[in-house]
């Protein structure tokens, strides 16, 4: 990485941090999911979950 100028490395680092911050922000505040998904996993208004398919015990 040292072959790149210091400002380019710094800009790249800041860009990565901003992009990852955006992913986390979208994850926390902007889920774009179906109603059934929202009910089961976000609002948790459905509690009769089906059994996971491949393991037979909790994880």
């Amino acid at each position: 990485m040292r072959r790149f100028p210091a400002f380019a490395r710094l800009a790249f680092a800041l860009l990565l941090i901003a992009a990852q911050g955006a992913v986390v922000w979208v994850g926390l505040f902007r889920p774009n999911v179906s109603e059934i998904y929202r009910a089961m996993f976000i609002d948790k208004t459905i509690d009769d979950f089906p059994e996971p398919s491949f393991n037979t015990k909790g994880r």
Binding site: M1, A6, F7, R9, L10, F12, A13, L14, L16, I17, A19, Q20, V23, V24, V26, G27, L28, P31, N32, V33, S34, E35, I36, Y37, M40, F41, I42, K44, F49, P50, P52, S53, F54, N55, T56, K57, G58, R59
Partner: protein, 359 residues
């Protein structure tokens, strides 16, 4: 390692062979992910029926490559993949032990790592060996003053399991120290880049996984939210420890699948946290953090899999190895190592019955 796999295969003969006997619990998820991909089962509304987002992509990707290269079924290719990754871990761990515990007998470490009773999990189709390898490598690179390489290793670690993010505080502290030490340097931009770039790269594995999950499911936190299907809900570690011991269900330890012993799982958590405390007492702060936090984080949402998380944590293994290394009398060494080998064979046979031995 080859001899160990042969013993596993011999023990598996009554259960229909090594691949069938070894493939318990999460192995099915990994094998299916490797062959069919995430869209095969994930969803609730958008795709199929069962969400598989709890499983991080790096191990399934490596397994897919192994299946392609070997043309073996995923259940068998995964055993060879995990075992190869475990060999990598043992080598990297030897380098780490040489730096942190110079008096260690590395030949004894190799024997210890092969005989450790719960070490069979490192050969199962699970991400444990990959996680142990990358976690140890990340810490080793950071210790050797190679923060950028440590950041890249941590990025891969975060793509193997979300607890990989627990490396971030260590990198952050290291980089802050670097900033402080270089405060008099005139090249501020270079100094800041040296501090920020490893930190920016380290969580990339997790961030890319989250971005992909958002693109496919619409939820970047799907990996966390679907944990509720495994009865994982955030109530804090103390809640689950109390609940585990209050259950007092030791009789279920030896019973087959569908049952698990909360008390057994809680005991493993206590043992792991106790070892983390000892590491902290000996001022091995990084090791104490990476063992303690790797237990407390999953323990905050349930007891499931805690024995596996403890017993396969590299720093738990190093602490156990250090304790075994204190033995001086050859008879005691032979008794302990022989006992470990016998116990491993028993635990493997136990695992083949889908018991809760280490789940």
């Amino acid at each position: 390692m080859a001899a160990r796999l042969l013993v596993y295969a011999w023990l598996a003969l009554p259960q229909g062979g090594l691949a069938a006997a070894m493939c318990q619990y999460d192995c099915g998820w990994y094998a299916r992910l490797a062959t069919l991909g995430y869209a095969s089962d994930s969803g609730f509304g958008k795709f199929g029926v069962y969400p598989n987002w709890a499983f991080f992509p790096l191990y399934p990707l490596l397994l897919r490559a192994s299946v392609w290269a070997s043309t073996l079924p995923a259940e068998l290719a995964g055993i060879f993949l995990s075992s190869a990754l475990y060999v990598g871990f043992v080598v990297v761990a030897a380098a780490y032990l040489r730096r942190t515990r110079p008096a260690s007998d590395l030949a004894a470490w190799v024997v210890f790592s092969l005989l450790f009773p719960f070490g069979f999990t490192f050969s199962a189709v699970y991400a444990e060996s990959l996680f142990a390898l990358l976690l140890t490598l990340s810490v080793l690179l950071l210790r050797d003053g190679r923060p950028l390489a440590a950041g890249i290793a941590t990025a891969l670690l975060c793509a193997a399991r979300p607890t990989g993010v627990l490396m971030l505080p260590l990198i952050a502290v290291d980089r802050l120290r670097h900033l402080w030490m270089g405060r008099a340097r005139p090249d501020r931009a270079a100094l800041l880049a040296e501090a920020l770039l490893p930190l920016a790269i380290a969580p990339l594995g997790l961030s890319i996984s989250m971005a992909v999950q958002y693109a496919l499911v619409g939820d970047a936190l799907a990996f966390n939210r679907v944990q509720i299907l495994w009865n994982r809900e955030w109530h804090g570690p103390l809640h689950y420890l109390i609940e585990g011991f209050a259950a007092w269900d030791w009789g279920q330890v030896l019973k087959p699948r569908e049952l698990f012993s909360s008390s057994y799982d809680a005991l493993w958590a206590m043992i792991g946290l106790g070892v983390a405390g000892v590491l902290g007492w000996r001022r091995r702060w990084k090791e104490a953090w990476l063992l303690g936090a790797c237990i407390l984080l999953p323990l905050s949402s349930g007891l499931h899999s805690i024995p596996r998380f403890v017993a396969t944590n590299p720093f738990f293994l190093f602490a156990c190895f250090a304790a075994a290394s204190r033995l001086r009398r050859p008879a005691a060494v032979a008794a302990v190592y022989g006992g470990m080998g016998f116990l491993q064979a028993a635990v493997v046979a136990w695992w083949y019955q889908a018991s809760n031995a280490l789940y």
